[in-house]
Amino acid sequence: VNPDLQNERNKATFDPIQLTYLLHNGPQQTRRKRYIQSLALNDRVKQNFRTWTELSREERYEESMKKCIYCADRVKELGFKDPVDIYIYNQMFTGHENSPFGLHNSMFTDVLTQQGTEEQKAKWLPLAKNYQILGTYAQTEMGHGTFVRGLETTATYDPKTQEFVLNSPTLTSIKYWPGALGKTSNHCIVIAQLYTQGHCHGLQPFIVPLRNLDNYQPLPGVEVGDIGLKFGYDAVDNGYLRLSNIRIPRENMLMRYSKVTEDGVFIKPKNDKLLYGGMVMIRSFITGDCGRGLSQACTIAIRYSSVRHQTEVTPGKGEEKILDYQTQQYKLFPALSTALAYLFAGNAIREMYLRVMADINKGALGELPQLHALSSGLKACSSYAASEMIETCRMACGGHGYSQASGFPKIYVNVTPACTYEGENTVLLLQTARYLMKCLNSSAQGEELPTLMSYLNKSTG
């Protein structure tokens, strides 16, 4: 170990393992995490994967596909069932590379679980979990993003055949951006405006087959492809999708909350927000991801700043460690404290999400608006802060921070899209603000406010 770094470790006033325990839910979970990481680290096949920074975009997609398939097989062999274990294992193989199976294992599977009836879950979930089908989630359109009510894709119910007919009626209605839509997925949950009995009943989720499972050609009426080079996310084939009179059976509409009967009668859900459960889940998890990305950037910058010496503070006394300069501390320590703040907030919002979802399963929807508002706002604030501060960490490493060898570019291009995906940040903050205005109104009327808003009643003004 570099003596400068060792000296730093020697003079610490606490044992770092105590912080590790706090962040990873105690000694047992930490041991489990390290064990799983060591399985991946010592994997001989892993050593054969090519160095990420030297690959072209096409090679990165292919290499990542190989890794994902290998990981999926290994996860099965190792018998991992807990999503946290699987996440840790996969991260060691594909850290900050993202994955062509990412949406399949998150949005696709989770929306099926949350929005499907028991029959639908029994049919689709085993297929998804065994990778017999590969799916993604297509909501965003070329001309429509965060304002989901503006989506144009249509699903018109035909009671004669008991099918939905899906169409992309305009150029702007083409589904655009969904991860793994371009070349990887063969099924997709499409969010479309439902029309039945001559009326539009708003957005609903539909399972749409995209590709022939034998030869992987797109099915008739399906035009699908990759959207091209992006800022990062090279391993993911973000795609576009144009639908022309695609017929799917009535059972392919996810009907846990809203329903369409055989003769075309629409039955409303208890709460319109239930449709956005998938997005709330992803937003809840983004905060922790941002905390992790920023903590990695801080790790790089702070260790480097302890090793790098630059300029004499006192002439003749030798070059100082750059971490001893107050200006360097002012760049890095606020970022470090922000990383910790968002790691804790990420844990808290994930726990809140799991609790609220468990309540929803019991029919209690009371906390959903609070979760929706907080997850939107936290996602926005954490992604803004992480993007900005990762860049600060990079610049704090001088010229070496610009090299791919620093590790910063890979982290940055994986974290910064969080500012725009799953809802553009300003729009999300305005959603949070609308909720705050409702709470203000309730407060003025003397109503009791949710816990996180109780300060509105307390404060004067």
Partner: protein
């Protein structure tokens, strides 16, 4: 007329109170502006759009207030190791003081935080940098991120940065040959010209 209780002790309660006050004030200001605009005949949706810059500030203040509270809860957990507790407390203070100073106008606007208190906070921020300095490496070690995941020559656990940078340079694809193909194709004809 209410003012903050922040002193140079930087009690976490006083910091939370400041964040709550700022969020509540900004939320109320938005509500008040929307009410004024609609009472002048503006449609509610238009009034909302005409207040959107302030609404974003209010939402940000609310979220930051929630994050501060979550952080404080973690510091105050009973099962936190006694050696770690002061380190976490300093990190929490730094997070809140830094945010507060970045947005000092929003805390000072109605006189809740005074100019004198901001002066104290500026000085405390610099003290906190010195306080955290000896533990900075231990804190990032505590994140427990394996080198393979960092994939960084600069952030290696062993600190052998320069060896790693040198190896990385030697492995560049451009170094596979001593003279690059581009020399023969383009540079040589140019130099010969």
């Amino acid at each position: 007329g209410k003012t903050s209780t922040i002193t140079d002790r930087l009690s976490l309660r006083s910091l939370v109170e400041a964040f709550e006050h700022r969020a509540a004030r900004l939320i109320r200001e938005c509500g008040s502006r929307i009410q004024t605009l609609t009472s002048r005949g503006m449609k509610p949706d238009v009034a909302l759009n005409s207040t959107s810059v302030q609404l974003v500030k209010a939402a940000t203040a609310h979220v930051e207030c929630c994050v501060v509270k979550i952080f404080v809860n973690e510091v105050e957990r009973k099962d936190v190791n006694p050696q770690l507790k002061p380190v976490l407390q300093a990190m929490c203070q730094l997070y809140t003081v830094y945010l507060l100073l970045q947005n000092s106008g929003e805390f000072m606007q109605d006189g809740f935080v005074t100019g004198q208190q901001v002066e104290v906070l500026n000085s405390k921020l610099l003290d906190l940098l010195s306080e955290i300095r000896p533990n900075a490496v231990a804190i990032v070690d505590g994140f427990d991120i394996p080198d393979a995941m960092l994939a960084s020559a600069l952030g290696r656990f062993d600190g052998q940065v320069y060896e790693a940078l040198y190896q990385y340079a030697r492995n560049s694809k451009l170094n596979k040959t001593e003279v690059s193909d581009a020399y023969y194709k383009h540079l040589k004809p140019f130099l010969d010209r």
